[in-house]
Symmetry: C2
Subunit: 490 residues, 2 copies
Amino acid sequence: MAQKYTTREEDYSKWYNELVYRADLAEHSDVRGCMIIKPYGYAIWEKMKEILDKKFKETGHSNAYFPLLIPKSYLSKEASHVEGFAKECAVVTHYRLKNAEDGSGIIVDPEAKLEEELIIRPTSETIIWNSYKNWIQSYRDLPILINQWANVVRWEMRTRLFLRTAEFLWQEGHTAHATKTEAISEAELMLDVYEEFAENYMSMPVIKGRKTESERFAGAEDTYCIESMMQDGKALQAGTSHFLGQNFAKAFDVKFADKEGKLEHVWATSWGVSTRLMGALIMTHSDDEGLVLPPALAPIQVVAIPIHRTEEDLVAINEKFEALRLELKAKGISFKYDNDENRRPGWKFAEYESKGVPVRLTMGPRDLENGKIELARRDTKEKEIVDFANIAEVIEQLLKDIQINLLERAKKFRSENMHSVDTYEDFKAQIDKGGFFLAHWDGTKETESKIKEETQATIRCIALDQPEEAGFCMVTGKPSSKRVIFAKAY
Amino acid sequence: MAQKYTTREEDYSKWYNELVYRADLAEHSDVRGCMIIKPYGYAIWEKMKEILDKKFKETGHSNAYFPLLIPKSYLSKEASHVEGFAKECAVVTHYRLKNAEDGSGIIVDPEAKLEEELIIRPTSETIIWNSYKNWIQSYRDLPILINQWANVVRWEMRTRLFLRTAEFLWQEGHTAHATKTEAISEAELMLDVYEEFAENYMSMPVIKGRKTESERFAGAEDTYCIESMMQDGKALQAGTSHFLGQNFAKAFDVKFADKEGKLEHVWATSWGVSTRLMGALIMTHSDDEGLVLPPALAPIQVVAIPIHRTEEDLVAINEKFEALRLELKAKGISFKYDNDENRRPGWKFAEYESKGVPVRLTMGPRDLENGKIELARRDTKEKEIVDFANIAEVIEQLLKDIQINLLERAKKFRSENMHSVDTYEDFKAQIDKGGFFLAHWDGTKETESKIKEETQATIRCIALDQPEEAGFCMVTGKPSSKRVIFAKAY
């Protein structure tokens, strides 16, 4: 209990790292850049998966599974794709180990060298489009609407738990369509699904937008994204949905016969979110005491702790909470009753606070006598003594309130840290304080990269709902028709 | 429709391969030994996962996730483990590709060689016990009851879809306990979970048993298994549960302080089932017309097909089936109505038969007039005309009947193919006809391997419920106290 943790104010990055350990979400493994997702962290990820999976199915998608290993040559079939992914690949070159002849241990068997090296998938467009080639002959075979839940590996040099790891878990949707319009609609639809998930389940407001050409996915014609603002004012890209045009269809020669029998290349999308969402969730809501979770994603929504002096009191309190457990279960609310005798209440308070349990109940002998209970909410840290009689209904409503309060709070924070700037001087003066900056830009890569070089800020996106507005690029003074969003980013 | 498929009688192995393609379950990828699990096949696997996951959680387990990549040196820490797994590993040696200087494409960057090679996990005992070392200090930290859903790679030389693939999907439970008794109980409990799943959901009878020493998991003190009999009389090991003793705790130096503060090595289990279950499911029930699925695992439980001449009829039939859809939905029964105008009824009949949909409904104009419907069950191929009025209740009961009938049918087949033999001559004369052979064995590796060499049959297990019975080894004549099960196996 006496352990002092770093606050957000003191060192945001250190606060984050400590919090991931303290809430028992994940830890570093001995394998460089690979994390271990611990049961409590994985339980949150499972909830995310379950909700997203349901949404994917409701929008007509099916799950499938494609190989982990991709022949090296596939990667080079789409020109910009290889540029984007070849630099960070884990390469399998051999398929056997053997005992060293000098008895020093096991070594890679030089006899077992693969003819063609295999890459651990950094993303699966190539292997999937190589399959779609055999699945698609006519317009009747379209659309194909497939999603895959999988692990991928990108050999990142600087890694952080959840935010950037060499191996991460994700879902990747890969769809094939007969028309450009249909493919673009699909990419937009999935962006909407991500937005709805972020706002209604993660209580995390996001801005839907389009990436600039230089920030696009390698192989995409258009990359849509949802961008969220962390508590340090930095941006985090929480999900992307790509319109891939006919690039992969051309690279893998995937054509379909339309109703008139004319052969045409297939149109494609891909879209994904990953365990990075865990990082976004943590950094959107948590405080110096630990994790703060929206009820919709909390593995434990309500924790109850007895405070007692006598065994008799404990028995009576146990009974009360057993009755409540059944009531909450009927309402689909997850409940944990912690009457472990080996831990003091103070230790338990800190523990469940660290873990972000949305609602805490405490009952002592006097509460018992008076038919009362103490109710504490994690988001605002407010406590009150309420009647035990209708506590299940009160909790049910409170969980809804917390879910909404977290979203409102995050929205308020974001709007307070959303700035409009008109000159590059202003921009440079303010960028270090964090937040999103709406500014005019001339649309060129050169200006974009000059700004990035001089300020570390990037164009996060061109927001879909950004109104047209005549203006002048803050750097070059050239005309611009719309502001774009700049920020430093994770 | 005119395509002729191989029958079981003609060529069981070819029948299986064709069926996997025909029912659209999976296909080979271009990556040697790696399969693509197609949406229909994956939907069955998802149902298996969901049911098993629920059972794991009900028995106190949590999911977590450990790295895909394991340092080569970990594998050698447990002596028998390395012997078992080193020979079939995918080895990552480099972490980057680059453009060849001669412009010939991309090559592995020789500068990006890993200091220590990484192995794609063939199983995760080593990386998990390396973590448990840090998680366990005292008896208070025990038990640890963790499961992981993951992909693993074992570089098999001869592969078959679902049955033996280089990459496969599975779950692996890894538990840590304070006492030997508790660990053994855990291993037995999980075997019971597997048995219950196999019989009640897969409709597949299994024999619970213990492996002989030479068939044990590399690193286990005892391997429990469930063995099932396929329609060709061969055995398939459908799941295993290992009591690992203190082997991994010793290899990774994992000790805990007991209540008296004394340090002791931790006791372990691991247990798993994989996409191999898909192969078992297919080969237990399917027939020459295609897949046969137990309703509990069928992605589509009921399919309905209209037969009509006029548009008017179709509209009326559509209405009937829409009403039925809602009724079945309320009962949690999955229903597909296929009124696709591009396909003829005959094509649809064959299609859903191939895919093993348990119940098929057909309605034509005369049925409509008479308030009747044709009901066909996939398992027995029986058809009857029944009243439409209470069809939802009839279907509900029929699905239960099919589930039980498949189990009973498989049990009957198994008992008809279970033989007791007393002499090695008899054994050799009968082994090629398939089935399980109960015989006495002297308990030595030598005899076991002689039998394997001469007949290709192995000891599948020593059944847990096998009664004691004094007898003599069929090969050496030495005394034996119990019969064991021999069979040829997948």
